[in-house]
Every structure is written in C-alpha cells, then in structure tokens.
C-alpha cells in the first residue's frame, strides 16, 4: 500500500462524491480544499498539468469556478480499492460557461487518500480527460 487505508468502501465513495464533487459543483471553496492535505498533488495526466500543494490547487479552483457559471458532475461509476485507500470514478462533467456554451467531458479521476490528524484526505489526485483541460 502507499498510504494506510482507514476509510470503508462507503466512506470512500461518500468522500469522493459528496464531500468533494458535490462541493465543487456548489463552488464551496473551503469545503473543497478541506478534502486535500496541504501537500497534496493534483495532476491532469492527459494534459501533463500538475498543481502541487493546497495553494496551487486553490488557485486552480478559483479560476475554474470563475470560468463557468454552472458546473455539474454526474453519472458516476465508482471502482473502490478499500484495502489500499484508493478510489476511481468515471463521470460526465457538464460545464456551462457565461456565454451559454456547454462543454461535456467523459473523465476519470483516481484518488489516493492518506490518513492525517484531521482524518483521511486526498494526497494524490490524477485526472484523465476526454477533451481539453479546463483545470489549468
């Protein structure tokens, strides 16, 4: 294992879908950032883009939230490796910009959670996108 597993299957799914993606869609920056360790790594592999540390991840989300009027992540299929504290999900990202244009992406995220004093959080996030990367 890379990090000791502490969350159950149900808790891993809840963390990824409810504590993280639901708060992304709500543009709730504090709740989103609370999902990450300070030293977390966020990589968009299909664009060779890397955001290292919570401040860089916060800047990325500030720009992402500002770029789109409405952000919807939906139709999740989760794969859960409870024994290793890892979860993967494929989903549709529906992004509505301020001019009314809609971008649909069929993406896959890999999350690796590491335990800490405030509980398990994302230490590494890897995103694979079907189209152009909006997380720059």
């Amino acid at each position: 294992m890379q990090y000791e597993p502490t969350l159950s299957r149900a808790d891993l799914i809840d963390f990824a879908l409810n504590k993280y993606f639901a708060r992304v869609d709500a543009k709730d920056m504090d709740a989103v950032l609370d999902c990450f360790h300070d030293t977390a790594l966020f990589c968009v592999q299909t664009a060779f883009t890397r955001h290292s540390g919570k401040s860089e991840i916060a800047r990325m989300f500030e720009d992402f939230f500002a770029s789109y009027k409405t952000i919807i992540h939906r139709d999740f299929t989760c794969t859960v490796d409870e024994a290793n504290g890892r979860i993967t999900a494929c989903f549709t990202a529906e992004l509505h910009d301020h001019e009314g244009q809609v971008t649909l992406l069929e993406n896959t995220n890999f999350w690796r959670l590491r335990p800490g004093p405030d509980g398990a959080k994302f230490q590494e996030v890897y995103v694979y996108m079907s189209g152009a990367n909006p997380l720059v």
């Binding site: 890379q2 299957r9 592999q45 989760c78 890892r86 979860i87």
Partner: protein, 144 residues
C-alpha cells in the same frame, strides 16, 4: 447474468484481489509488450468493447480488437507498460490502472505516455475497457 450485466454493476461474482492485478499485468500487458496475440485476446470476452476515450475510437468485438493489435504490433518496434498503480475492486468485478507506456515507432524515437485503463469484467474476462492517453491515440482501427 449476461442479461443484466452492467459496468461494475450488481450481481457480479467477486474474484480474489490478486486475480484482477494479474490479468492486467501478467496476462494482458505482458501479452501486449511481447506481441503475444493469443495471450492478449484470451483476456477478452468475444463481444468485448474497447474504447479509446480521448479520441472516441471504439473497437467492437474480439476481431476488431485483434485487428487493432495487429496494427499496433506492426507499427511499433517496442512496447513497454509499467509503473502500475491499481484500483482493484472485487465487489464491482473491475480494476482501474494507471501506468507509464514507453513505445517506439518503427525506426523512430521512443515516446512516453502516462495512461490509464478502466477494465470491467464479465465473469473472469474483460468485457468493457476504456483507455485514456496522454498523447495521440495509438490504438487505431486495424483491417478486420
């Protein structure tokens, strides 16, 4: 089960955890890297579908998948998959894998990709496979 099968859906029969890692690494990618066609195709159900998501290229059925690999094996002089990290899920009968690909076109320079695959099994074989590539699609249609 075939009537109600869905990707990672209910009603699957879980296999031991190592089976998922082994079919991906010791059977499938070992077969790809050594251009061992039968070993590769033995990992798929007859009506499996392999989709390259980043270019929306779909290979339907084992014969289309065979044709794709004939072209891949012919176009590239060396292929290596490694640096794997897996999300293996017996309950969902699925495994998602991240890995590095080092691949060299005939007479060309080595290319490095950072890819991922999602494998959804039906019984003990790949039934749906989704590939994401960090560069141009290498899994092009072959001649069926």
């Amino acid at each position: 089960m075939s009537e109600s099968w869905s990707e990672g859906g209910p009603g699957q029969t879980p296999l031991p955890y190592p089976v998922y890692v082994d079919i991906v690494t010791k059977r499938y990618f070992d077969g790809v890297d050594n251009k061992h066609m039968d070993k590769v195709l033995d990992c798929f159900t007859p009506d499996a579908i392999l989709t390259e998501v980043t270019s929306n290229t779909v290979h339907k059925g084992r014969e289309a998948i065979r044709a794709m690999f004939v072209k891949l094996f012919s176009d590239f002089e060396s292929i290596w998959h490694g640096n794997f990290v897996h999300t293996a899920d017996p309950e969902a009968n699925a495994i998602c894998s991240q890995f590095t690909v080092l691949i060299t076109p005939n007479g060309g320079e080595e290319l490095r990709y950072e890819n991922c695959n999602r494998f959804y099994l039906k019984d003990r074989l790949f039934h749906r496979v989704y590939v994401y590539m960090s560069g141009d699609n290498l899994l092009k249609e072959g001649d069926v």
